[in-house]
């Protein structure tokens, strides 16, 4: 495995920020588009979104070295607008308060929440834009890196956004089930959403891998590492089978057997989506290789 300057903390951040943004979008979609029975999911998504992004951002700060020991240095993080990290800091700084406010409004937590409830549509509109920015930015962050040709493609933010949406919906469903297990029957209504997001993710992932094969020598070597090389057992087992195929089939069954599927399978499919989303990011980070120099 090639050495990367970034490790599990950055992988966790990419995953948690994506899942938090996805949870926000799924909560807004449920609140606006679906009828009353979806309120439990909207509530769960709104409540987990902000905390997830905050934990992700904490991973990012823990990964800093001088900026962690001397936190006042973090004030310099917005000095270079050519840097995607600068944009990330701005996007996260805007998204986190909006996501927390949305959680407070939907959960009617304290007087702030009750006050914010009057403007919930505004929060939903602004927050959705920021959520898509957060999810897409995690992909752009690594897509602009010259040092790793495998990441250097516009498909990267598309793939990460698709994965963010499916992991966000999955984590909202798990939260809704934990909150009130009786709502699990109504969760079958969202199986179709899962099917759509997982299908998009699968198509983009296939495009990403196939196009990397011919993009450059280094990208092809990274892609081969996933498909048939040292990381291939993890790629096929964790990402393709557990993260895409099994939850895809389970969601289709769930959709047709409305409310009849065992609870463990409904929640299990969601957990698998999370495992797949985390593994996808880890494998993409750890399979990155620098250009051949000599």
């Amino acid at each position: 495995m090639p050495e990367s300057a970034w490790g599990w903390l950055i992988v966790s951040y990419l995953f948690l920020a994506g899942a938090g943004a996805g949870a926000f979008v799924s909560a807004v979609a449920c609140d606006l588009l679906a009828p009353d029975w979806s309120k439990s999911l909207a509530r769960a998504g709104a409540l987990v979104s902000g905390p997830l992004v905050i934990i992700g951002t904490a991973c990012l700060v823990l990964d800093l070295e001088a900026g962690f020991w001397e936190p006042w240095r973090q004030i310099y993080l917005t000095r270079n607008l050519h840097s995607m990290i600068t944009w990330g800091v701005l996007i996260l700084s805007a998204f986190i308060p909006v996501a927390l406010l949305y959680g407070a409004a939907v959960g009617e937590i304290s007087f702030i929440g009750r006050m914010a409830k009057k403007y919930v549509v505004v929060i939903e509109a602004v927050g959705s834009v920021l959520a898509v920015c957060t999810a897409g930015y995690t992909g752009v962050l690594i897509a602009v890196v010259n040092g790793v040709p495998f990441w250097n493609t516009p498909l990267m933010p598309v793939l990460f956004t698709a994965s963010a949406m499916s992991t966000g919906l999955a984590i909202s469903m798990i939260a809704a089930a934990i909150n009130d297990i009786t709502t699990i029957r109504t969760l079958s209504n969202f199986a179709l959403g899962h099917v759509i997001f997982i299908a998009i993710e699968a198509v983009v992932l296939a495009l990403f891998v196939f196009m990397s094969m011919t993009r450059s020598v280094e990208a092809a070597s990274s892609a081969m590492m996933l498909v048939s090389g040292s990381l291939s057992p993890y790629f096929w087992a964790l990402v393709v089978v557990m993260g895409i195929l099994v939850p895809f089939v389970l969601s289709i069954v769930e959709y047709y057997q409305y409310g009849e599927m065992p609870k463990t399978l409904v929640v299990g499919a969601d957990v698998l989506v999370l495992v797949g989303g985390m593994s996808l990011r880890a494998l993409i980070i750890f399979s990155g290789q620098p250009p051949q120099i000599v």
Binding site: E65, A66, G67, R73, Q74, R79, N80, S83, N146, G147
Partner: protein, 180 residues
């Protein structure tokens, strides 16, 4: 203002690593830390086979990717065309390490900031040459001003058609190689 660069003649390199050790001493690096290194490259197939030693270091790119991605602006280009790190601004996010196609940056865990080849700029400003250049027993490296057509380095680059490594990456490297 000069535009400093280094020309490297790999046909003279014997792989003794004196440049690496001189650099570590000069910059007070940890034993594992390195601003330059020598990689061995196999050329050709038997019976026309040879081994090439290629000394690598920061290319002090004219359009440095590390500088573009640095969120704090800690990485900057000195007027002499040397890419430097302002250690007071660096937060240690390591984005520059990922962005560098030549993988020539490293993090100093003692101070938590990213460090790199400075082309020994303090010595150079006092009229000296970088430690890796002066220490080399076979005089592989030539240091000088690439904007002065009469400098030793410019004449060497022109005479041997020396090329940077992976110029196709469009980062404008300032280290030139004569490789055959």
């Amino acid at each position: 203002m000069p535009r400093y660069g280094i020309a490297i003649d790999t046909t003279k390199c014997i792989g003794c690593n004196a440049c690496r050790v001189a650099c570590q001493n000069q910059n007070n690096l940890e034993p594992k830390g390195e601003f330059n290194k020598i990689v061995e490259k196999d050329r050709g197939v038997f019976p026309s086979f040879s081994k090439e030693f290629v000394p690598l270091q920061c290319n002090h790119c004219g359009q440095a990717p590390c500088q573009r991605v640095c969120p704090t602006g800690a990485t900057y280009t000195a007027p002499e065309g040397v890419v430097l790190v302002n250690e007071k601004l660096c937060v240690g996010c390591k984005y520059c390490i990922e962005a560098c196609p030549y993988k020539m940056r490293t993090i100093d865990h003692r101070s938590g900031v990213v460090v790199k080849c400075k082309m020994c700029i303090e010595m150079v400003r006092e009229g000296g040459v970088p430690a890796c250049v002066s220490t080399c027993p076979t005089q592989v490296r030539i240091f000088g001003d690439l904007d002065d057509p009469y400098s030793e380095i410019s004449r060497f680059v022109a005479k041997h058609r020396a090329q940077p490594l992976r110029a196709d990456l469009n980062t404008g490297p300032q280290i030139y190689y004569k490789r055959s």
